[in-house]
Amino acid sequence: MSEYLVTCIGLTKRYGQKEALSKISLQLAPGRIIGLLGPNGSGKTTLIKLLCGLLQPTEGSITVDNNPVGPHSKAVISYLPDKMYYADWMRVSDLFDLFADFYADFDRERAENMCLSLGISPSDRIKTMSKGTKEKVQLVLVMARRAKLYLLDEPIAGVDPAAREFIMNTILTNYDEKASVLISTHLISDVEPVLDEAIFLREGQVVLHDSADALREREGKSLDALFRDVFRAQIYGGGTL
């Protein structure tokens, strides 16, 4: 039994000729908030989709909670995708029913309270909601679970600062402290205060992976400044780490 919640060994994903992830080896411990940081196209979403089984690796292996990706790993992962996954006909209460049916760790009362505080009624139709409200419902569903691993793919991209603050608060006040949260983003300054650990991805490879404090101490700058340095170097084709 590994003490790590997630173990990836030699993980590679190719789309045709293009390599989205290249021989990634990672170990993530429980009880951590981890930033998966990198510019667009660096492989963040690919890594998250591989972890939750929406993509299959070209090479390498993944274990989550000591199991390969499958029904067991899916039962302990709570995944927030970067798109809406609702069926048109559903109401909020239908989604609560669905989550309660399939996930033993779904806390319905918590979900209802979260919706109440947002002014969303369980009888509201998904079809009639604004994009922002739909995103909030999806976040409620994901955070109302007592999962072991939360995979949040760009949860704060494309929303206004107030919504961003709400999302970060919801994540921080609702996740189980024994669980790990993997947040992918390129908006470092908004997540930096809460991160225990950071993974920097560049062109499908892990270029940095350490605790947030160790990185700040070693590099003598904030993660936000470090991110800008690392990826400015990439854009202008120079610089070393």
Partner: protein, 273 residues
């Protein structure tokens, strides 16, 4: 878990057909008094406005029947394409269930929609042109007797036919599913590639079935011919029984192959981009 998946797929089906199935029956009821009325004594004497109303209601009825059949086909395709390979797939493929359960749930739901649509259409015909209940009850024993007098097992023959229809329906649904699963392997033009895959599977399976049949006949040559003639002389039922049985087996084998590859593609090659 399959039961839970079915619960949501059936609810989705209920929403989809909530209007169209009752609409067929209501229109059939209207046509019972308009179109069906023509067959009653003196019913043909309805004048021009009556004829126009009858024609119009009958036309609307057929339009809704056609819409039901198209909607059923669209439902079977869309529940798989959108539900497992589109955005909804992000939810379905992250549920703690096995891939085969996702496919079987869509299959059972799609087949149920198809069967209900056909039953609603048949019922609507019975509503329009009412057959006395006594005639309907007498029909089946009569049919069994008539078949029995020809040496056909009157009970088993309709059952075999029903089984053939069901197995063929499973084969058709899985044919569509496999075509969509293959189409999804391509990075671009997934819908076009699904259509190409559908036609290609159709071509390959027709080729294999006809090759198998002709190889079988030429391999055994006269022996088979004699065998077939012997059986025909022995009983019509024997030939019917063998022919339907072989068709059921062929259909079931094709369905099993389609299911195997669809499950394998979704489990090992899933690529929700």
């Amino acid at each position: 878990m399959l039961g839970k998946l079915l619960k949501y797929d059936f609810r989705s089906m209920g929403k989809q057909f909530a209007f169209v199935w009752p609409a067929v029956l209501v229109l059939a009821l209207v046509n019972r008094f308009t179109f069906g009325g023509l067959f009653r004594e003196g019913g043909a004497d309805i004048g021009l406005p009556g004829q126009l109303a009858t024609g119009l209601t009958f036309l609307v009825y057929w339009a809704v029947i056609l819409a039901t059949m198209v909607l059923t086909l669209v439902f079977i395709i869309q529940r798989f394409f959108k539900g497992l390979l589109g955005d909804e797939g992000y939810l379905m493929h992250t549920l703690p269930v096995k891939t085969w359960q996702l496919i079987v749930s869509k299959l059972i739901c799609g087949m149920t929609a198809c069967i209900i649509s056909v039953l609603v259409a048949l019922l609507s015909v019975l509503i329009i042109i009412p057959v006395p209940t006594a005639d309907l009850l007498d029909f089946w024993p009569e049919l069994f007797r008539a078949l029995g007098s020809q040496g056909v097992n009157g009970f088993l023959a309709p059952l075999e036919l029903l089984l053939l229809i069901l197995v063929s329906l499973v084969q058709c649904c899985l044919h569509l599913y496999l075509a969509m699963a293959i189409g999804h392997l391509f990075g671009k033009n997934r819908i076009v590639m699904s259509v190409v895959a559908f036609l290609a599977i159709n071509f390959v399976v027709s080729f294999l079935f006809s090759s198998a049949f002709f190889s079988f006949v030429s391999l055994l040559g006269e022996q088979v011919t004699e065998l077939v003639y012997d059986r025909m002389e022995m009983s019509v039922w024997g030939v019917w029984h063998s022919a339907v049985g072989l068709m059921i087996l062929g259909s079931a084998a094709a369905a099993a192959v389609y299911f195997f590859f669809t499950e394998r593609i979704l489990r090992r090659r899933l690529n929700l981009e």
